[in-house]
Symmetry: C2
Subunit: 201 residues, 2 copies
């Protein structure tokens, strides 16, 4: 086992590149999570927070937007594992994960920048859709399509609108509330049962 | 009829106060609509855009946040008029207005700041809820409650979750799309019929 070297002063411009890269990305995410908008975010501030020199950042990323895209990409989209017993169970599980996530500042922050910065930073918005939104929607779409195929749901179910109603209802409560009340613990069940009630075969 | 006075040079610090107030509020809204975040917005830039001095602004508003709150309040919430023939008709009308509004940059901008700035500017977010969100939700809630009272909807309908599913589904398409396709013209009907299908008495 190698002994740890102490007392070595590393100059800011020459950290080991992988470690520096992680520090840079973490700094960017932390600042965004704290509420710094993409427009306000500066390479200088990120460098200061990460303890690296600006040139270290510019060696890897040509501009701020590219760095933010990589920072978003580093936040793995937590796609829920669905047991596949029934459409109802899988949808409840999917919506419960959405509800839990809404409490985490990092998840909230990436949702917020994706929404609020999409017009100013279209490349960022497109990457966010690609990395976070589409893979998750694919999971829910597959559950509903399986339900149609198995006969659990009616054959003429409008899968896209059903997805929108399920996810949209949860987002309405987690993101668009008009008060600060605690969300009901059985919210995922209530949404699922209300929407699926007209869709059973 | 009074003749218009020409050639009068008005100093920036002394415009007629009502006219100046409108110019200041319009400048703030325009800048927000163009994508300037609340944090980046400065009294100096608003003053420059409105063609007034900073002191004119400070005579009326103690800080930037108060000014933004008044700017939001000046945007009348366009609450749809509902004919009241049936729950289905009223809900379709309500959702169609949401869909139309989503095309207007000013509506989009106020939605975006309400979402993205709510943690940094809680007073702003609360005023936005009060002015824009709650009155509109009240209209939809009343439609559903009337449907329950008249027997058009089942007596055990979960009104709050139904509202969330209806509005959330439309927001899912207008705000959370994962592509840039044109929205279907019959989207409001499709959402309404899917969600109400399980709720009829």
């Amino acid at each position: 086992m190698a002994t740890e070297q102490t007392g070595t002063v590393r100059t800011p411009g020459r950290p080991r590149s992988e470690k520096a890269e992680k520090a840079i990305i973490d700094a960017a995410i932390d600042m965004i999570a704290e509420g710094t908008g993409v427009a306000e975010l500066s390479i200088e501030a990120i460098a200061g927070r990460a303890g690296v020199g600006k040139t270290t950042i510019y060696r890897r990323w040509s501009n701020k937007e590219e760095l933010v895209v990589d920072a978003l990409a580093s936040l793995k989209a937590p796609i829920p594992e669905l047991p596949g017993w029934s459409v109802r169970d899988d949808v409840i599980r999917y919506l419960s994960v959405m509800q839990q996530e809404s409490r985490h500042p990092r998840t909230r922050c990436i949702m917020n920048i994706a929404l609020s910065e999409s017009e100013r930073f279209p490349h960022l918005a497109e990457r966010f859709r690609e990395i976070v939104i589409r893979p998750r929607r694919e999971v829910l779409r597959a559950v509903l399509q399986r339900g149609v195929a198995s006969g659990e749901l009616r054959s003429d179910v409008d899968v896209e609108v059903t997805m929108a109603a399920l996810s949209g209802a949860m987002m309405f409560f987690t993101k668009w509330r008009d008060n600060d009340d605690e969300l009901p613990a059985d919210l995922a069940e209530r949404i699922t049962d209300l929407i699926l009630s007209g869709l059973h075969a």
